[in-house]
Amino acid sequence: MAVTVDFYEQGRKNVRKTIGLVMVFLVMMFAFGLIIDLIFGILPIFTLVFLAVALIQLLISLSSGKEIVLRSVKAREIRSDDLEEKQLKNIVEELSLAVGMSKPPEVYVIDDDTVINAFATGRKTEDSVICVTSGLLKNLDREETSGVVGHELSHIVNRDVLLMTLISALLGAVVIIQILAFRALITYARFGAFGAATRSRRSSKKGDNSTLAILAFLAAVAGIGTLFSFIGRLSLLAVSRTREYFADARAVEFTRNPVGLSRALRKIVTNSGKLKSANIATAHLFISDPLKRKINNSSSFFASLWSTHPPIAMRISILENRSYQEVRDEFSKYL
């Protein structure tokens, strides 16, 4: 008997993880603000400011949805009179049955014949989108497209999109604080002498002490912010990579066919160009890096920390049950 993963359970697990993550983040921001407030005795200004920034970021990321992503990559709805696009819609409906989704995701197309790529977005399972390039429709047959669609559906039912959206939103909040602190630091370092001079006239006893204190304070905020955003970015990338492997495995489980997906990945390596409408913010959504950055195909320690996707040769080697070196040599011309 085949061992099956419970898709519902996986989805719930990711939702729990997401809620936990948001909690940890809010507590962290609260503590961050509180520490600064306590050190400099200005409670509760920074605690409130940091919490506000975090909450606003969360709300924005939760309310802005798939529309923004779809517009940014210039996607359009499918035409049901086109046979290839109708076939894509059929495949999405077929695999939604395999997953047990009540309503299949909407299907969008990016008009770019030179690129083979696809992504899924939408935080809710019932309100999700699968988007492929027209190059994918032209180059891939039914079996291969099924593999890709299975991969994307796995992202949707596992609620990967929700997790990733929130992680990047929270990261954004840290980056905002970091930037604000750096700006203030630079401004203060430049004009601080003047400010301190006017102030010291009023309270001549304290003198230069306050300037130093404020500089130290801003440096501390900027420093901690940088540390947080660094750790945050690394964990975002790590999550992104593991989700890709997992989605590959799920695609095989849905379609009961590893050949379709591995052939699709092969064609992505050999025939696909750079997607012009993608950018760093949306790159992690795609099945394979749309920007074709070199780092995503290297397996060195440094690269494996900083890449959004696992090396594509590694994914093919897992699907085909061959050694990584063998597959890598085969594609050495393209990677």
């Binding site: 046979l83 076939q87 049955l97 849905f254």
Partner: protein
């Protein structure tokens, strides 16, 4: 006094556990029933598509009248089948002859060039895939349910509720489906 509290505590925990097991089983059962209903929806679609396809390929496929005839007969049997056992058997037979028809159509370049036919073919291929994916999902959910009601200590809970939770049958591949469709190229 202490003993009483301990006993009450144990009873409350037991009751809560019982409720959670029961609710879990009901949820799983509903999922399996829904999966079963999905298969029915797709089978209906298959029955509706076949006459259209047969009538539009008839003119091209003079040499395959027998195949078409078989498809229509199998469809008639599947539509009129009563009871789960009969239905499953008739649908499996229909699936077999349909697979053969789809393979045969590949040999007629004229047919594949006809947009109407290729659209119908795509719809039928998709429906066939949907049927097998719906079955796959049904089998997965039913297996999960069947395992849940048999493992200890759930089997004790199932015993309390008599016939409410019974194992679902699974789809199995028949001998006819295991055989690859034979395509006769010598016409």
């Amino acid at each position: 006094m202490v003993i009483l509290f301990v006993v009450i505590g144990i009873l409350v925990v037991l009751a809560l556990w019982l409720i959670s097991v029961y609710n879990n089983l009901v949820t799983l059962k509903k999922r399996v029933e829904n999966a079963w209903a999905q298969i029915d929806v797709q089978l209906k679609r298959r029955h509706d598509l076949i006459p259209n396809l047969v009538s539009s390929v008839k003119g091209y496929m003079k040499f395959e009248q027998e195949t078409l005839e078989k498809v229509m007969q199998a469809r008639a049997r599947a539509v009129s089948a009563q009871g789960v056992g009969d239905k499953i058997k008739a649908e499996q037979e229909l699936g077999g002859v349909l697979g053969r028809l789809l393979a045969v159509v590949e040999n007629y370049p004229d047919l594949k060039a006809n947009t109407n036919v290729s659209q119908l073919m795509e719809e039928l291929t998709s429906t066939e895939n949907k049927i097998s994916y719906a079955r796959q999902f049904y089998n997965d959910s039913a297996t999960k349910f069947n395992t849940k009601i048999e493992i200890f200590p759930n089997n004790i809970v199932v015993g309390f509720f008599g016939g409410k939770f019974e194992a679902f049958p699974l789809f199995e591949v028949t001998e006819a489906e295991r055989e690859a469709p034979k395509v006769d190229l010598a016409f």
